[in-house]
């Protein structure tokens, strides 16, 4: 029974890693296309990042530096858990600093700091199919992609505008990659969509339960779907981060009391900490630093 505890570097066996790397290469060759792959059962539950974990496990080497974020933060429990997993099974260096990381695994956010050549951003994807909520059948949606038949998606966006005056999609906002495939960017807020466009970094998307991998190679055009008279817009916040004073970043709303009190702080914790280390202070940040 004692030999149960021995696992290969980065958990997956080398044959599996090869299989996943082949899927990744195909995904890079056809930007935005969902490549089926033989997803393995991972030691964490489906829906908790098994796709991202399998991609990271397949590309990580002993010299890599790994950062894991969930909701933009390094210290959310599932990010902590995944980081600890790789620190254990691959014994790699881990970091919370975006610029130090060679691989960043993420759930629901793209870091605020612009990613650079040589970095890989690995997204955890729950439902890879952007057309899934319009057409539940895989056989149908694959055909629609093959025929580049995306009218249904435009009708949906149009209906949003007709009913609500707005496109009611605020996250997992569909994009067109390299002018061909409509792709689900994973449930990142649409605020982050422009960061995917012409990024220097390689972006890989893993959906473990749905057994799909897709990719955006560096310097690839990624365009959020919209209409000429209803152009794509990102969320804006009418105030800066309360801790570091950053503007033009995505903010989390934190409830302070039961009287409606709330503050808005950077969702990207590393970005916020770095700014504060450089002396940037937001409205409530002074108190925070004084307390420490």
């Amino acid at each position: 029974m004692s030999d149960l505890a021995t696992y290969n570097f980065a958990y997956l066996d080398e044959q599996t890693k090869r299989m996943i790397r082949r899927a990744i290469l195909k995904a890079i060759a056809i930007p935005g296309y969902q490549v089926p792959f033989a997803s393995r059962e991972m030691p964490m539950p489906y829906g908790w990042g098994t796709g991202g974990v399998q991609i990271t496990a397949s590309i990580i080497g002993p010299d890599d530096v790994l950062k894991v974020i969930d909701q933009g933060a390094d210290d959310t429990t599932n990010a902590v858990s995944i980081r600890a997993f790789f620190a254990k099974v691959a014994n790699v260096a881990v970091t919370t600093h975006t610029h130090d990381a060679s691989i960043i695994q993420t759930r629901h956010r793209i870091p605020e700091k612009t990613l650079l050549e040589g970095q890989v951003l690995v997204y955890q994807v729950p439902i890879p199919e952007p057309l899934r909520f319009l057409e539940p059948r895989e056989t149908e949606t694959r055909t629609m992609h093959a025929l580049e038949e995306y009218g249904l998606m435009h009708v949906k966006l149009y209906e949003d505008i007709a009913l609500n005056g707005h496109i009611a999609t605020t996250y997992a906002y569909p994009v067109k990659v390299a002018g061909r495939y409509v792709m689900d960017p994973s449930p990142i807020p649409k605020f982050d969509n422009p960061k995917m466009h012409l990024s220097e970094a390689l972006q890989l998307f893993g959906a473990g339960r749905e057994k799909r991998i897709y990719a955006i190679p560096p310097h690839t055009a990624v365009v959020s779907l919209d209409f000429e008279d209803h152009p794509f817009e990102v969320q804006t916040f009418d105030r800066p981060c309360a801790l570091c004073g950053a503007e033009d970043v995505y903010l989390d709303e934190v409830i302070l009391d039961d009287k409606g009190g709330r503050m808005f702080v950077c969702s990207d914790t590393d970005h916020c900490e770095e700014r504060r280390a450089c002396g940037c202070v937001g409205e409530l940040g002074v108190k925070q630093e004084a307390a420490e």
Binding site: L4, Y7, N8, Y11, D13, P36, F37, A38, R40, E41, M42, P43, P45, Y46, G47, W48, T50, D70, Q71, G72, A73, D75, T76, T77, N78, V80, A84, H108, P126, R137, E138, T139, H166, T170, Y171, A172, I188, P189, F191, R209, K211, R212, Q235, A242, L243, D252, E253, V254, L256, K259, G260, G261, R262, M263, V265, S267, T269, E283, K287, Q288
Partner: protein, 370 residues
């Protein structure tokens, strides 16, 4: 005042420590052993092995204990171990015709070669709680046959002898032996892969679907041709040796459902089959599986696909309880980035709504923090 959510690592470690503590429970009671679980909670062990697709009682019992008796968690533990194992070959098809039978019942014939053997069944027990189990009193040994029994030919073979049931089908050289755990699912799926998915599918889900076919959602007029439970030999063909060697025996439950007949101008009417095979002893699962298998063959027989149980994508995409539980339970992970995006939109749309109503004041967003 705002306190950054730090210390996730310590919190996780502490939570797991508490879990281990709760798992052990009252220390004044002896800890249960895997041997006790294997011997006395056999059907739980069987279910874990079946839905994890790994036949190993010791590991299944360990998983069951580790999971504090949570079936799906135990199945998940065992699957996460199974997936790391190398595959060194494919066994020969098991021959359930040569099963060492523990139980065998047919609902289609009153008596048949090999007879009806009830075996260790809950059937015909009166479901009255038995206080005698509270004391560890002596338990009578079961009666066991001494002489070798008459060979029990399969009911499907009896029917096939008359040509009354469709054949088992034959596979081409390069067909079959697909592996769901090594290849991504693609639809439409071949029957071998469908059966694989059903064999590891959730018992409760298949039970409900099987039940739905009986209530008219994809009815297929089933008769339980036969259920047999017992041990079969696993053999592996070794090319270096030139012959098959035995790897041991496993206990399985097989159900052959004899279902709605079919005929055309070219083929005389024949009964059709639904098939179920499960590790260990689980009639409920094997029977449900055979009903669903038959329902899923609707396309093959040119039947209208109207009911959920006949819908391949629906059934096979949702029968895996490890996938299902993971995705349902992932909703408890933080989603506040996306929720923030929705909040923002709803607030904006409410603002626009209020503004558009004549005579109403545009309400100011409450900013108590400021």
């Amino acid at each position: 005042m705002y306190v950054a959510v730090k210390g996730g690592e310590t919190a996780i470690a502490n939570a797991h420590r508490l879990l281990a503590d709760k798992r052990r429970g009252d220390r004044s009671l002896p800890a249960i052993s895997s041997e006790q679980v294997i011997e006395q909670l056999t059907l739980a062990v069987d279910r874990v092995m079946a839905e994890a697709s790994l036949y190993d009682r010791a590991l299944a019992a360990l998983a069951f204990r580790q999971a504090r008796g949570d079936m799906i968690e135990a199945i998940f533990l065992l699957r996460a171990y199974r997936t790391t194992l190398p595959r060194f070959g494919t066994s020969l098809p098991i021959d359930t015709g040569h099963m060492l039978i523990e139980r065998r019942v047919s609902a289609t014939y009153k008596d048949l070669p090999g007879g009806q053997l009830l075996g260790p069944t809950f059937d015909y027990t009166h479901r009255l709680l038995d206080p005698s189990l509270l004391e560890d009193g002596p338990v009578e040994e079961g009666e066991r046959r001494t002489e070798a029994c008459e060979p029990a030919m399969r009911v499907s073979d009896i029917l096939a002898g008359e040509g009354l049931i469709e054949g088992d089908g034959t596979l081409q050289e390069d067909e079959g032996g697909g592996d769901l755990t090594r290849e991504p699912m693609e639809f439409p799926m071949s029957r071998d892969l469908r059966l694989q998915a059903l064999a590891r599918g959730d018992e409760g889900f298949l039970l409900a679907l099987g039940y739905s076919t009986q209530r008219g959602y994809g009815r297929n007029h089933p008769f339980t041709g036969e259920i047999r439970i017992g041990e079969v030999e696993i053999e592996l063909y070794v090319p270096e040796l030139g012959f098959a060697v035995s790897l041991g025996d496993i206990r399985v439950t097989e159900c052959q459902m004899v279902t709605q007949f079919k005929g055309s101008s070219k083929v005389p009417p024949q009964f059709t089959r639904g098939y179920g095979l499960v590790f260990g002893q689980s009639e409920r699962k094997a029977m449900s599986m055979s009903l669903v298998d038959r329902a899923l063959r609707a396309r093959e027989f040119g039947e209208d696909i109207l009911a959920p149980a006949q819908d391949e994508e629906f059934v096979l995409s949702h029968c895996d309880n490890v996938q299902a539980t993971g995705f349902v339970e992932h909703l408890k992970l933080p989603h506040y980035v996306d929720f923030q995006a929705e909040l923002d939109l709803v607030r904006r749309m409410r603002g626009e709504y209020e503004a558009s109503r004549p005579g109403t004041q545009i309400p100011q967003t409450k900013e108590a923090a400021e």
